[in-house]
């Protein structure tokens, strides 16, 4: 039978107290690691037993909210999605995501990433405002059209891709894999008509031109979004647009009400049994 007794691992945490510390520093804590324990579980143990002031972001603990992105043993990962045993090491080094300023301990300042994200218009851009404000029916979209952007819609905005990107490491003007991936999610959505509006941002210096396909973003993405693929597809779209070869199609129309499908022999509803008042 497998040995399930707890073994001791060292959680090496990057601490930084604003106002008190000039530089971040490492701090070690011994933790009993049981099989199935995630890095997030370990952080809770450390907070409970050794470092009550340790700060980090986490919420769902199941890999869907995107809050707990951290640098674990040199790679950006979700703390809740990373088993201590999968690290195959007696030391679990946890640091805040690089390429974001540190607010405190393991908490990165994600505001620049979200601001850039807002700048690429991450929503459906269409002309029919009346329908958008007061929708009457759904927009017609085939499963094949859905597949063109579904993968990119799985992004949970955790920031791991931004931490892994070599260009984001030096250039704050580069939009980064998350905003670019999300711009492509909408450009590839057949219901969207915003390619021209997003092009104002993307054909310039903040667009995908500083991506050189190091591919790290796709390798660290915990949801399989593959932002590298989105960015290369975006480059293809933008270059085709430059050469005036891009196929333009109108955005998805509102689905029509079905004709002649109402059954005539439906019996009338029985009288109400619940009276008003």
């Amino acid at each position: 039978m497998a040995d399930t007794s707890p073994r001791q691992v060292t959680f090496r945490l990057r601490r930084y107290e604003p106002g008190n510390d000039r530089q971040p520093r490492w701090e070690d804590h011994r933790v009993d690691a049981t099989p199935g324990m995630t890095v997030l579980d370990g952080l809770w143990k450390v907070k409970e037993l050794g470092a009550p002031s340790l700060a980090w972001r986490s919420s769902c603990r199941m890999g869907i909210c995107g809050s707990c992105g951290m640098l674990v043993n040199g790679r950006p990962r979700l703390a809740c999605n990373t088993q201590v045993t999968e690290l195959r090491s007696d030391v679990v080094a946890v640091a805040p995501l690089p390429n974001f300023d540190i607010v405190k301990d393991l908490v990165p300042d994600l505001r620049p990433m979200f601001a850039t994200h807002r700048g690429v218009l991450p929503y459906l851009v269409r002309d029919d405002t009346a329908e958008q404000e007061a929708p009457t029916r759904e927009y017609r979209q085939t499963p094949h059209e859905l597949e063109q952007y579904l993968q990119f819609s799985y992004c949970i905005k955790c920031g791991c891709c931004m931490a892994a990107c070599p260009t984001v490491a030096t250039d704050p003007r580069y939009s980064g894999p998350m905003p670019l991936g999300q711009a492509q999610r909408y450009d590839n959505d057949s219901r969207d008509a915003g390619f021209g509006a997003r092009r104002e941002v993307l054909a310039r210096g903040s667009g995908p031109w500083r991506c050189h396909f190091a591919g790290e973003c796709s390798q660290v993405c915990p949801k399989g979004v593959d932002p590298a693929k989105a960015i290369q597809l975006m480059k293809q779209d933008l270059v085709l647009d430059l050469l005036r070869l891009r196929r333009r199609r109108p955005p998805a129309a509102v689905a029509e009400a079905p004709h002649g499908t109402r059954r005539e022999d439906i019996p009338a509803a029985p009288p109400r049994t619940v009276t008003e008042g």
């Binding site: 250039d171 054909a203 210096g205 031109w209 270059v239």
Partner: protein
């Protein structure tokens, strides 16, 4: 919109260089194994013969332009990714353009001014 155009030209220039520089490298450094007979490419006779050929003169100038554009765009990428301030950004753009154009002008002069060089007027 400029960055998209500059990048597209960068890829196009890369393709041009692949063909022309590939040929140049093959002639200069793979000649023995490829069985390209004839005198040494760097001997004056070969050099003068190529100088007198309109084909070679044109391809040299084309390769010069494409390679300078491709190389300086790459250098610009590296420099701009190091996050210079706005003033330095202008300097880099202007500086690289000036140096690139100057090298192109100099190289084109060297290609056209060679003794016995083929020009559209000379032939």
């Amino acid at each position: 919109m400029r960055d998209r155009t500059l990048w597209t030209w960068h890829i196009g220039a890369g393709v041009v260089i692949l063909v022309l520089l590939g040929l140049h490298m093959a002639i200069m450094h793979l000649g023995s194994t490829l069985g390209i007979s004839g005198s040494e490419p760097t001997a004056w006779e070969s050099v003068a013969a190529r100088a007198g050929s309109l084909f070679f003169t044109t391809t040299y100038v084309l390769l010069l332009g494409a390679a300078l554009y491709h190389g300086f765009y790459g250098l610009r990428n590296i420099l701009l990714e190091l996050n210079p301030g706005p003033g330095l950004r202008r300097t880099i753009d202007v500086g690289l353009s000036v140096v690139g154009l100057a090298l192109f002008a100099f190289g084109t002069w060297a290609a056209l001014a060679a003794p016995g060089a083929a020009t559209t007027m000379g032939g």
